[in-house]
């Protein structure tokens, strides 16, 4: 074929990818190739190799349609994936022997969810010999008692029949794929960002700490499972429609930083522009204004220099620090015009 990938080769590759995906339990997968979707297959393969942290630039860089044209690139891809299959098997064997696999998959599929629901309804943990069906009955009763107090309601109420359900499941798959691609992008961007910190000489002494923080977080983010499935669709409540500020403090509880003190401390005293807290301009009579001007004029004459009258901002600042006239409202505009006329007359 024109892009150098034959269907036979693509099918062979996808078997490797399927086994690697199963053993590593990763979410990116390479779709089954056919005559019409080879380009999509290549994009999937590219994403998959990125997830595997493939270091070979012949396989990860360049035009995706010509990347696997040469026989050496095909051979390299095949040997890389074959080695990755063996790596995956060894790691799975390690996890079985060390018991790590047990700590992750101790319960039946729905047990954590039902436990979580019972805890939400303040139902205490039951002994091992409790009857499981009585627990479900209790769950129903407590739910019935609680649901009338809630202001929320489910959003999706349509009937799922044999026409709509397959379409919805296709959508779920599409949104899940989109989510995992974005997740991979965000994780990659995080890695690049943090590793660029290490170019700084001062930070190199923190490198091991930084790397351990980064690897733990990248693993945690990589294990996020998409919520785009039918169960989450059915359970979507009206709270999904709430609009919240991105900067609201309850959302930034753990993203405050010493680098951004305004997110931590109270706002500073005066950032300018809060008119309700400012002390207003003095209520001067015309005579007082004239007196002030005359005094300034006299001083100027003595010094043989011109001292301009105070600007509006200077006057406001002076009065802002004054203890007199507290609580008066600011009405500087009218007085400004008055001062202007006075000044003009003075020059005459």
């Amino acid at each position: 074929m024109s892009d150098g990938i034959t269907l036979d080769f693509a099918n062979q590759i996808i078997q490797y990818c399927a086994e690697i995906r199963e053993l590593y339990e990763i979410e990116e997968y390479v779709r089954q190739p056919n005559d019409h979707n080879l380009l999509e297959f290549l994009y999937d393969l590219s994403t998959f190799l990125l997830e595997l942290e493939c270091p070979h630039e012949e396989l990860t860089c360049g035009d995706i349609r010509t990347r696997f044209q040469s026989s050496s690139a095909k051979k390299l891809l095949e040997s890389f994936l074959d080695s990755e299959v063996k790596t995956a098997r060894l790691i799975t064997r390690q996890r079985i022997e060390s018991g790590e696999i047990v700590s992750e998959k101790r319960d039946l599929e729905l047990t954590p969810l039902i436990d979580s629901a019972l805890r939400t309804l303040n139902f205490p943990k039951q002994a091992g010999n409790s009857n499981e069906w009585k627990l479900l009955e209790t769950l129903r009763q407590k739910t019935d008692g609680r649901v009338s107090q809630s202001q929320r309601h489910p959003l999706f109420k349509a009937t799922l029949d044999e026409n709509t359900l397959p379409e919805i499941e296709k959508q779920c798959e599409s949104f899940s794929r989109d989510f995992y691609n974005r997740l991979l992008l965000l994780n990659s961007r995080l890695k690049v960002t943090v590793e660029s910190f290490l170019w700084n000489d001062r930070l190199k002494m923190h490198r091991e700490n930084i790397q351990s923080i980064l690897s733990a977080r990248v693993d945690e983010i990589g294990r996020v499972k998409a919520n785009s499935d039918v169960a989450h669709l059915l359970s979507a409540s009206s709270s999904l429609l709430y609009i919240q500020k991105a900067s609201s403090m309850d959302r930034r509880e753990r993203t405050k930083s010493k680098q951004h003190p305004l997110s931590i401390m109270d706002a500073p005293k005066d950032r300018g522009g809060r008119t309700e807290e400012m002390v207003g301009v003095k209520q001067e009579s015309f005579r007082q204004q004239q007196h002030t001007f005359d005094r300034q004029h006299s001083q100027n004459r003595q010094k043989s220099t011109f001292d301009r009258p105070k600007t509006h901002e200077e006057q406001v600042l002076e009065q802002h620090t004054s203890r007199d006239n507290s609580g008066q409202n600011w009405r500087g505009r009218g007085r400004g015009r008055g001062r202007g006329r006075g000044g003009g007359r003075g020059y005459h």
Binding site: T111, T120, R140, S150, F156, A158, F175, F179
Partner: protein, 253 residues
């Protein structure tokens, strides 16, 4: 080269700086000594003791070439060739395809999981395929107002439990009084874009809007996790001697 391969060869670190040949030397020497054994016993010690950087770098390049790394390839790729050989050797030692094929691993995993299933949790005794379970699932959905038409009772039970966990907590109910809800701004779901061609079926179109919102909310959670990572690193690395003085903010002149 990936962290997974470093784990497979039982290296004591999960990260290698490819710009630091000293780290690369340490990795290669460790893998050679523990698994590959292509050189005599003194080679590893000599490599680590050698003071002349040029000498052990040349030896390193020679080692890479022997495992198939083409000249001029990146350090990461060269290391991958060596690690592949090490993985191959370990794989054969542990029984090869006979002992380590996927189906056998699956059987072993299932056996281990079955033996360790938490017998102290009565919920682990539920039979998801029984009529009793299906009845309970549909009843829960009916109480909550969730559409109960999905043929799989596991999906219905999952939906009900997710709804309960998210919406029926004491604090959630106490916080959201009618007065609070009046002040809350809400999105117009009917005008929300779905980012794909609009389906003709109304229910499918509505479900696409909801799925888009669910996806976006989860992406915000991921973004927050990323921000937490950066903040944690910043708190570790920032220079406190340059802390800003916020006691007085100047205004005007």
């Amino acid at each position: 080269m990936s962290r997974r391969k470093l784990r497979a060869v039982e290296y004591d670190r999960d990260y290698i700086n490819f710009d630091d040949d000293n780290e690369i030397r340490r990795l290669i020497v460790t893998v050679e000594e523990a698994h590959l054994k292509c050189r005599d016993q003194n080679w590893s010690a000599q490599m680590l003791d050698e003071q002349d950087v040029a000498k052990w770098t040349v030896e390193l390049e020679k080692y890479f070439t022997e495992f198939g790394a083409p000249s001029g390839c990146s350090r990461a790729a060269a290391i991958d060739y060596v690690l592949n050989a090490a993985v191959q050797k370990i794989y054969e030692q542990k029984g090869g395809d006979t002992e380590l094929c996927s189906s056998r691993l699956r059987e072993q995993a299932e056996k281990v999981l079955e033996a360790h299933r938490d017998s102290q949790n009565p919920l682990n005794r539920l039979d998801y395929s029984s009529p009793n379970f299906a009845e309970n699932a549909r009843a829960l959905c009916s109480i909550l107002g969730i559409s109960a038409h999905h043929p799989d009772p596991k999906v219905l039970m999952k939906a009900a439990c997710l709804y309960i966990a998210e919406n029926l907590g004491d604090d959630v109910i106490a916080e959201e009084t009618e007065e609070v809800l009046k002040n809350k701004k809400t999105l117009n779901i009917n005008a929300f874009p779905i980012g794909m061609q609009a389906p003709k079926n109304g229910a499918v179109h509505f479900s696409a809007r909801l799925l888009r919102l669910i996806c976006l909310r989860q992406l915000r959670v991921v973004s927050r996790m990323i921000n937490e990572t950066l903040v944690e690193i910043q708190n570790l690395t920032m220079d406190m001697s340059k802390r800003a003085d916020l006691k007085q903010v100047q205004y005007g002149r």
